[in-house]
Amino acid sequence: MNRARFIPLIVFALIVVAVAWRLAVPRDDRVASKLEGQQLPAFALPPALPGKPGLASADLASGSPRLVNVFASWCVPCAAEAPVLLELKRRGVKIDAIAIRDRPEDVAAFLARYGDPFERIGGDSESRVQIALGSSGVPESFVIDGKGVIRAQHIGPIMEQDISGILAALEAAR
């Protein structure tokens, strides 16, 4: 009976440990796409702005790995990652984009201001392709191999320190 006295204390200690653990290791609330390792869903998006081709799933199975950037002109972190995308392009990465809920003139203004690393930009005005890809926000990027299989997903802006990881993922997709 004596030992039972310590049960509340033990329960309390367990609660303290659980709380301390979650404070030290915060929950990761990013939602990763479950399509990694699978074929891209079929889609065909119209051009997001005049003068640049739109983006279809067939364009991405081009024989060599490509990066698909899901972005929007109204998204602040997308502006933050723009210089890094330009740097990736300078290093020979082929980048296409999907513009979410955007107007052609807004996309044009965004590219004029922050630079244009994209070969093709599809306009996804109702987030359909975004949802079909399992993407849950902007910006996100997908590494697609030459056969059109999703090989990696990067959630959030690609920053300076992510360059090596992205290049490695593209190399692995070769």
């Binding site: 939602v31 929007a72 955007d102 005005s125 109702e126 359909r128 975004q130 949802i131």
Partner: protein, 133 residues
């Protein structure tokens, strides 16, 4: 200084984090067929919003939730079953996106927890009664 700060506060505008585009057609418009609309509404109440993660897409004002409502209504209107639409979303976002947890070994402890708590409570009570007697 305080007054200047206050004036600054008055002209401060929140940072824009949403697009200017109007919501998709079926985001806030009911389907003409009442039975399909009922099926869609029931499903929308059980699909989690990806942006504001505590709400269902039926409750959320986020643009992406609107686009997901449009997607659910369009698929239901096309004749897809609610189960098929849910499976399509789970394929993309995992079981997390559905508020109806799948019955899998990983979640068995969760289902067993109420029973375990009842048993523990009964055991505690038994100790109490025995001491009184």
């Amino acid at each position: 200084m305080k007054r200047a700060l206050f004036a600054l506060l008055l002209i401060a505008a929140p940072l824009r984090a949403d697009s200017d585009l109007p919501p998709a057609r079926w985001a806030n418009e009911q389907l003409p067929d009442a039975r399909q609309e009922a099926a869609a509404t029931a499903l929308m109440g059980e699909i989690r919003c990806l942006v504001c993660q505590g709400q269902s897409i039926a409750d959320s004002d986020a643009e992406m939730a609107g686009d997901m409502r449009a997607l659910v209504r369009e698929r239901i209107a096309r004749g897809e079953s609610p189960g098929a639409v849910r499976r399509w979303l789970v394929e993309r976002y995992g079981a997390w996106v559905s508020y109806r947890p799948p019955n899998e070994p990983l979640s068995w402890p969760l289902w067993a927890a109420p029973i375990a708590l009842l048993v523990a409570g009964g055991w505690l009570l038994r100790g109490r009664f025995r001491r009184r007697a």
